[in-house]
Each structure stands twice: as C-alpha cells, then as structure tokens.
Amino acid sequence: MPKNYQQDFGSIITSKTSFIDEIINLARKSSIFYLLFGLACCGIELMQTGGPRADIDRFGSVPRATPRQSDLMIVAGTLTYKMAERCRLLYEQMAEPKYVISMGSCASCGGLFQYAYSVCKGVDKLVPVDIYVPGCPPRPEALTEGLMRVQDKIMRERWFNARQKVGQPQPSLGIDYKVTA
C-alpha cells in the first residue's frame, strides 16, 4: 500500500499514515455501505453494478435503503430542484465520516439537460462531492473504479496524529445552502 503520494487531482498533498491507520482504514474500506439514491438512468446502472456481473458486493459494498446506516451516497441520476432539498436532507442524515460519489454527467454538471429549467446543474451545488464518475450512464466498470478511488481516499486518512480528513473539502462547497422550508 503506498504510504505517501500526491493526489493526481486537486492540489492537496497527503501525508503519511501509520500502520494502525492502515489497519483501521483497511477495515473501513472493505465494507462501504452505499445509500441507494438512484434517481434516473444511472440508477439502473447502479442496480446492474450491484448485480451479478459487475458485482461490487465482492468489495464489501452492499446497498442500504436508509441514510442512517450508510457511509457512501452515490447520487445516480439527474437532480431536479424539487428533489434537491431531499438530497440535502438525506446527506445531513448520514453519519460522519461520509463520502459522496456523483455518478453520471447529470449529477456532476447537469449532463445533457443544460437548457432544462427544472434540473439542478450538478449535485455539488448542494453536497460536497468526493468522486465524479463521468458517463451517460457510466458503465458498471466505471462506477467500480469510482468506488476504488473512494477506497483509496479512505486508505489515506489519518486517525491519530491529526483528526482531519485529508482531502475532504469543506462541507459548504458551492453555495451556502440554507434550506428555508
């Protein structure tokens, strides 16, 4: 396992993790429960990724229906403004430490619905995204790669020297989202 290396996206340089950190992170990365947040077409590919051929259960990832029991939220599909408040609510209901994968181009930037009046142009206006998986919809192999990257992120976290998630952006990325009923 690489101990210290530069992330190849962004400009955040990670630091050394100790042996205990690695053991803890190994246990954490091998059982990432993801929240079933399949909104649109990418939701079907999310189902197929959990299905028989491109099985992410072999990496310990099982889908959970409730945010209270999940540590990864895979936003799969187009986010509309009507759904946006619920997305933020679900993100708030997840317990720390939590990660977000923005799956597909609709969740990453609005996708092919740039001229739509009711589509939120990217889920990172609401929740801080760790990994963006491009595609329309991304193949199951691409989503598995996204999950691998989240696992890499988890492996680089330190638990004892500095209790700070390395590489985790501040929670209020994008717009300072304050919900008013």
């Binding site: 079933l36 947040f37 909104l39 649109a40 077409c41 939701g43 079907i44 590919e45 189902m47 197929q48 299905g51 028989p52 051929r53 889908p63 229906a65 599909g77 187009t78 509309t80 009507k82 759904m83 408040e85 619920r86 933020r88 609510l89 679900l90 708030e92 092919l112 619905f113 001229y115 739509a116 009046y117 009711s118 589509v119 329309c136 919809p137 193949r139 501040q170 929670p171 209020s172 300072d176 304050k178 919900v179 008013t180 009923a181």
Partner: protein, 392 residues
Amino acid sequence: MTKPLEVPTMDMENKEVLRRIEITGDMLLNMGPQHPSTHGVINFLVQTDGEVMKRAIPEVGYLHRSIEKIGERCTYNGFMPYTDRVDYIAAMFANQGWAMAVERLLGMQIPKYAEYCRIIACELNRISSHLISVGTMAMDVGAVTPFPYALREREFINDLLEELCGARLTYNYLRIGGVAFDLPSGYEDKVQGFVDHFEKILDEFNRLITYNEIFIKRLAHLAPISAQMAIDYCLVGPNLRATGYGFDVRKALPYSVYPEFQFDVPVGRGEVGTKGDAWDRFWCRVEEMRQSCRILRQALAQMPQDREIMAKVPRKIKIPEGTEAYSRIESARGDMQYYVVAGAGENAHRVKIRTGSFTAMGIIDALSRGLMIADLVALIASLDVVAPEIDR
C-alpha cells in the same frame, strides 16, 4: 466552521391536500421520494393508522427534466437522445415513437430492412424491460433472489444491444428515416442463441416465482381493476390487457412490419384470483416476454438481405410550421403517444409525449383505500410505473 443547518419542514398549512384529509389520529407519512421500492423518485402521502391506509396520494415531479421544452430547442434528429431518457428502461420504443412521428410529418417511408432492425432491437428491449419489471416486482413483494436472476439475463441483452449500437441503456439507435448502424456480422446467430437460452429460463422463472404459492397469496385478489375503470382512467399496455380487454397497438393499429408476424397477445383471465388483479398484470408481462421471443425468431428468419438502413432524408429537416402528427406505438409500458407540432425552422414547436405510466398514477389514489402499506408497494410494482415516464 459550518453554521447549524435549518432542517426543512413541509409547510403543513399551505399544502392544499391537507384541507381534504381529516387527520383523525392517523399518521400522515411520506413514502418516498427516496425509497427502494417506488420505482424511481415518486412520493406518496400516505394517511394511515399504522398499517391500513385511508388514502395514498401520489406526488410526482421529482424527475421532471423539461424534456418537452428541450424538444422546442433541438433539431428533429438531435432530440433522439432525449427520447431515450423519457423511458430509459425501454428506450428503443421511445426512440421509435419519435422517429415515427417525424417520419409522418415528413411523409416518408423507410426501407424494410431498417424496419426489421428496429423490430429486433425493440423486441429485445421489451424483454429486458419486462425482466426489470418482474424482477423488481418479486423484490418488492419480498423475494430478493429472483432479481439477480433477472439482471443476469438482462446482462445478455445488454451485451447484444451494446454490440449493435454501442450503449447499454440509452441507445439512441434509431434515426429519422431508419437506424444508425447495421447489424454486425454473426449477430443473427447470437440473437438466436439468446432466444433459445431464454425460453428455458422463462419456464424456470414460472416454476420459481409465477406459480409460487406465497407469491400467489400475496398478489391474487390485490387491487383488481375492471376493464371499464381501466379505460376510463386510460390505462394502457399490460395493465389494460390484464383486466381482460385485449387491446394491443401492434394488432389493432399495426405499424412498421408487425402485420407480417404471428404472435398472441396475453390477456388476463383471473387464473389464480380475480380478473385484473396484480397477479394477472404480472403474468401478462411474463407471457409477453415469451411472445417477444416468438417475434424475434420470425424476424430473424424473414429479414430481407439488402442491408439498407436509412432512407433518403434531407440534411436539414425543415417542415412547414403548424404541421402536426400523432404516433402511437406499443411500448413495454403500454401505448406511448407522441404529438408533434412542427415549428418554423429546424425544430419542433411543441412535443407532447403521453406515456402509460402517467395515467397509471392517476388510478392509485382510487385503488389504495383500505390497502395495507405492503400492498401499496405491490400495487405500484404491478402497475409498472417508472418515474421518468411520469415526469418526463
């Protein structure tokens, strides 16, 4: 440091619906929009005393992607990928409806080989859409195992369609005037092999699920819909045929080359319960998969060999403003209809897509009085509603 967030609350006083619900000690719950069994993002406002519901009001619009407004911006050919997203599980049918509507606007015929390519792609898509439908229905009722079985078969179809047009889910295969790509070499044998393999799986599926005693006990006599009620609410497709009224657009208003095939249309008979109940709707879909295999075999045998995939279409499609056309196709979820009004220039003035799932949602309020919450889940699954068709 982040500021403490204000948790959103539903502004209870402003919701119109609450003036009509008398809350007499009942709970008013939200089932959805994020829920593993609502077939996409649909919300149900459920007034219940815990298990038995008084009302279940569906709330839609969580996936409204303004596809109809985008239709007024795109050129006719450029709108084809958006029709994929109207019903992404049965995307070929949505493509075909749009292609047929614009071809009617242009008044053009397409080559027979292209029609056969369309039929093969569409019937494969019908099988894969029904696999999702029956798989999720079994999962919603509680049997989680058949779902990976259905997904496994669907992976074979995904491979076939990926070889044909490059995509696994949103195909964008059809074009105005024909299809985009020719069948690759050796494709007929692969489809034949799949059809041979799949018909045996259907029998296994029937033994495992359809005639399973527990499954029958869950679904028989659940929310029976009479043919009169179905027609009044404009239910279409397998939902309508399960009530005993056998109307299939492929037989009643034949389009494309469907008149050349021989196939049956499964009609609900009330075999293990009431006619038109949830089991009948499930059974109709399973039998339609079998009939699709039949059509595929005949299509492969009867295909012309001239390999002409596109008719002569002008580079820029310009149609006089105000021309309107209406197309009806038998999609996996029923009678999908496109109403297109041509605009000045290269795009449409108005596109209206009438899908089977939209009108099926209107009936849930009436059917859900007195059902249990678990039955509501089974009812939604049996009507085979998908959120993108409702919201577009």
